[in-house]
Amino acid sequence: MDKGRIMQLNEMKPNRTIKNPHWTNDKKNQIHCEFHYENGPIVNACVSDTNEGNPDWKEIFNIFDIKEIEQNTQTVIKNADYQRKFKKREKKEKTDAEKLDNLFNRKLEAFEISTVKNSKDKNLKSLIRKASNETEVFAYTAVLISKEMKNEEENK
């Protein structure tokens, strides 16, 4: 074989390692895997067999047995499931934290009102502090202010 042809083949099939092959579908007629090339690049590839016989497909089944491919597939499914659940939990935690932040801010604002801050009505002040949503904060704050105003009127 002449030198040019060898170079051409090398270019077509450089030294690479196939990693993590797993099924992409239930029909099991396509495999996803990674080609790790010697000089660094990693290429994600989907490989199917062809009528002429796909050399990559053959290579995968020469290196890996079905059991390994099945195991990899289960791992990929598990990881994807974990990622999905993690993202969902993260999103919920963020939403919950924002809700708590807003609630706490409303409570702080309520206690910035001098009538609330200086009120001797421990019970209503406690209800504002313990409020579990913003509506409760507004409601108890309004009740307290109204009560204080009434007291002021009566003391005049």
């Binding site: 934290a97 924002e98 708590l100 807003n102 706490f104 801010n105 206690f111 406690s126 502090r129």
Partner: protein
């Protein structure tokens, strides 16, 4: 020398004004249930408002470091014989707060509540143990050994966050680096500086009820101190 007051609460607000807002909110709730309580605040001079002197009977601003754990700097400077350090992001919810100093076990130097692993933002377990002592509220005495412990807590924590203290990360996770509970654990378990510790009586959670604790932690009793992080959105 000025005679020390028997007992009192210690708040620290530094780094961000939101902690002072939170400390005011918490101290107001404390005074609602216990108007005679002694309360000291460590904060920065430029943040203090005139009315703060009505709420806090002692405000210390001199040399207070602008630091995420200025609390550790303040601990050994307490004006009290018995101090209840309390995080700014707390709210007093019950008149039983008047009995908090009775929770201090005289045979010990520091009395704490136990942290619940499920409530932590990180996994607090490691091969040699677990970070169990909650450092957001505790009572401590003013023995020289205790105050020396507090001083060293501050010193070692600074080395920790500056990366000047390295530990065997195969034994102790690197992600402990930002936590003062880890510094505390180390001083208590790996050094001669350790002090005698004890815990609040069960249900201890009512004295430092973290917002994500399970309701059953209270065993049907009223929560005295509720603990919830300050709004991050408000931090500058």
């Amino acid at each position: 020398m000025k005679k020390k007051i028997n007992n009192g609460f210690l708040y620290v607000a530094s780094l961000d004004k939101i902690f002072l807002t939170a400390a005011r909110y918490s101290a107001t709730s404390l005074k609602d249930y216990w108007p005679e309580a002694h309360v000291t605040l460590f904060t920065h001079e430029e943040w203090v408002k005139k009315e703060d002197y009505e709420l806090f009977d002692n405000i210390i601003t001199r040399d207070v470091p602008n630091h995420p754990r200025a609390k550790l700097w303040a601990l050994d400077k307490t004006p009290y014989k018995l101090t209840c350090y309390i995080d700014a992001d707390t709210v007093i919810q019950h008149s039983n707060i008047k009995n908090i100093f009775k929770q201090f076990k005289k045979s010990s130097d520091i009395t704490l509540t136990r942290a619940r692993a499920y409530s932590a933002s990180i996994d607090p377990t490691f091969s040699e143990g677990e970070l169990t002592d909650h450092c957001g509220l505790f009572i401590y005495n003013d023995k020289s050994r205790t105050l020396n412990f507090m001083k060293n807590w501050w010193k070692l924590f600074n080395k920790q966050i500056q990366g000047k203290w390295q530990w065997d990360t195969r034994k102790y996770p690197e992600y402990f680096r930002q936590f003062d509970m880890w510094t505390y654990w180390w001083l208590q378990n790996k050094t001669d500086l350790k002090i005698k510790r004890s815990f609040f009586s069960k249900p201890d959670a009512i004295w430092n009820f973290i917002y994500n604790y399970k309701d059953e932690e209270t065993e049907g009793k009223d929560i005295v101190v509720h603990h919830q992080p300050v709004p991050r959105s408000e931090m500058s």
